[in-house]
Symmetry: C2
Subunit: 250 residues, 2 copies
DNA sequence: TAGGCACTTGTTGTATACATAATGAATTCA
DNA sequence: TGAATTCATTATGTATACAACAAGTGCCTA
């Protein structure tokens, strides 16, 4: 019925949700802008019912805000909001690291984590790092964090972390690339990699408090990276990136 | 159209959400049970569209789980899940206390918090405490925690706390009452009240780390209370209470 | 000319109809 | 008698029609 009816296996609701999230994160829908259901119907190809379901999901996800008189608008985040989100994520990931350490992650279950860590090792050793290396880092870093969350062995915690997910390197569109031009960003990656090593070491040695403290400090690197970005680009350009940073589960 | 069309100011979606949440929390819908949309239509009085919206919201809230083949079922929680949820909440509230301390909550903004604390003081001083006092404690304690969250001055954090809200004393139906028979429960309340005092003192003195540490320990009282309940009642009886503890934003 | 009122238009909230997929039962065959 | 297959029933996913409401516009009046 619509221009793109590829992948019939995915429900209309999910497709609408993905499409709308994409529009928000790329900045096509701007913060504070009201979302018209009919317009969303046109751009997503789904009908009003699945579009409304997607809107509800995106609201619960935190990307949209309900308007009292009805409908939804794109949520706007301040710089403080983003920094707080990073702190929250760090706190929760710290707890995940503690759980992994205290509940005795087995040597075998630690293997994938160490593998991701080693892969990151290879990347950051380049000097200067290539754009491709940065891009690969984004993927590997996400995997490292996802594995750590899994190692916590706690479904409720994992759920909260997904909700809080403020992935500083998750942007697919230029945010990280812009950073790659700054040598400071490379330094941050080196430090981040070092943190990874310490956390894994702490987990192996069952040092829960140490693992937690390092993970919390680790997240603050994202805040540093953000401030770096804010200094080097205009605020307006960054808005989509800010939402990317806040966006969960991308 | 239906038997109860009271309060027309509330939307059908919200009413369906409240009705379904009530059915889940009171145990009328049991964990693992599939929720039939048509049945929900009958019991809530709303039509399928608002019912479906409510189901989606409840899933995002964490009370329901999507079934791969379609539809939703009531989520089942293990004792470990509940304990982890309590730990997560404590961790986030610890961060809230830290924020309140470090960001300099004014003396004036602390007033409502201290008022709630003083009110709790009055209650726990009774010996033995009455059932009514316990009930009042539930309300006041919820207010104290809500005010503390507000004092953090962080919307993203407040959002996460609402999601994680595992209110050990939030049960309206018997959970706390059963505990009131145990003198141990009164002791826990006395300790909890002491924690409140320490947290407020730490915030006033700008001791962020101290405020955070005490709040985290404070949440563990809920875990103690839960274990107490698990020892004194059968597991089956407790299932609704367990879900109550997990349930957010009641 | 300015303000208010009424109307029109477009929006969202709700209900229902239709299509498709899953589940269960009954019947048939081995 | 047991198992498998087919058919019927019922569930959910989707689309659309209807109703109520809000907002914006234009006209009329003071």
């Amino acid at each position: 019925m619509s221009e793109r009816d590829s992948d019939r296996s995915v429900s209309q609701t999910v497709r609408a949700q993905l499409a709308l999230r994409d529009q928000i994160l790329t900045g096509r829908l701007r913060p504070g802008e009201r979302i018209s259901e009919l317009q969303a119907v046109e751009t997503t190809g789904a009908s009003r019912t699945p579009v409304r379901m997607a809107l509800v999901r995106l609201e619960e996800e935190g990307l949209l805000e309900a308007i009292p008189s009805g409908g939804f608008m794109v949520k706007a985040f301040s710089e403080r909001d983003i920094l707080d989100s990073i702190e929250v994520r760090g706190t929760l990931e710290g707890l995940a690291a503690r759980f992994a350490a205290e509940r005795g992650a087995s040597a075998r279950s630690l293997e994938p984590l160490k593998q991701a860590m080693d892969d990151i090792d290879q990347l950051v050793r380049q000097d200067p790092v290539s754009e491709e290396a940065f891009s690969a880092y984004v993927t590997l870093n996400a995997r490292f964090h996802a594995l750590l969350t899994e190692l916590s062995g706690s479904a409720p915690l994992a759920r909260q972390i997904d909700r809080a997910a403020a992935l500083p390197f998750a942007s697919p569109s230029g945010f990280v690339m812009a950073q790659s031009k700054l040598p400071e960003a490379h330094q941050i990656l080196l430090i981040a990699n070092d943190h990874h090593h310490i956390v894994v070491d702490a987990i192996e040695n069952r040092e829960g408090s140490r693992a937690e403290a390092v993970m919390r400090e680790h997240a603050r690197l994202a805040a540093r990276n953000l401030r770096l970005a804010l200094r080097s680009r205009t605020h307006l350009d960054l808005l989509p990136a800010l939402r990317l940073i806040q966006s969960p589960a991308i």
